[in-house]
Symmetry: C2
């Protein structure tokens, strides 16, 4: 039951919430022991804050929940490949695993030759199509 | 009067506040029209949050003050070279200028071959010695 697809669907629901608020539709959840301990979606417009990416909010919320700043034994499911800022935050968090939906060739961290923490496993392409389509639809609606 | 050294001294006072709270002593201020619109120091321990770097807090505070998420026509003075996360946030903010005290060869963004926004001017080495010494003193006290 608790597959990568299961949790990525929850991240996609977060992305959908962002879409409905006219925010770039990116969502994420953080899971520890098969339990969702944080979920968030992009809120840069609502909060007027470039740092309010889904991942940043979720990292802060998960650390609050755990009472500690390191996210060892946690997995982040995120619909779009994290940007440089979010990859930097994930690196500091020492999170165990990051599962990514769609790639972001232009703004994602991978093509900047950045790496996450040595302890962090990265899984790419889970529900890639759905994660990609929602972003494309959003920007199509903006043109 | 409103020289780079003047504002870097304020950033150093922020770093000193961090030091007194047993936080890694890094401070920053953001200035618009020669007026300080945000100041912050590292609070990762107090807040149990890896994202609570001085720069991240100051970017959020400055955007709040301005009522807009872009920091055009603003300058950040920061005592230590920003990390990957903070450089990513500065990039999104489109800030006009970043004045850096001491380099951070190991964790700073420059040696990761990252750049800030094309519109962002970078100035290095303002009060470099003072900015470097406070960090070295902190880690010496931890050994």
């Amino acid at each position: 039951m608790f597959t990568d697809e299961y949790f990525m669907k929850m991240a996609l629901q977060e992305a959908q919430s962002a879409f409905e608020k006219d925010e770039v539709p990116i969502g994420c959840v953080i899971v520890g022991n098969n339990r969702v301990i944080a979920k968030a979606h992009n809120l840069t417009e609502a909060l007027n804050d470039v740092t309010a990416h889904a991942e940043m909010q979720a990292i802060t919320a998960a650390a609050n929940f755990l009472g500690g700043k390191y996210l060892q034994n946690c997995t982040m499911y995120v619909t779009l490949e994290p940007c440089v800022m979010c990859a930097g935050a994930l690196n500091w968090s020492q999170i165990s695993k990051v599962v990514i939906g769609a790639r972001d060739e232009q703004r994602g961290f991978i093509n900047k030759a950045l790496t996450l923490h040595p302890k962090t496993e990265i899984v790419l392409g889970v529900l890639e199509n759905e994660c990609s389509i929602i972003v494309k639809e959003f920007f199509k609606s903006k043109r």
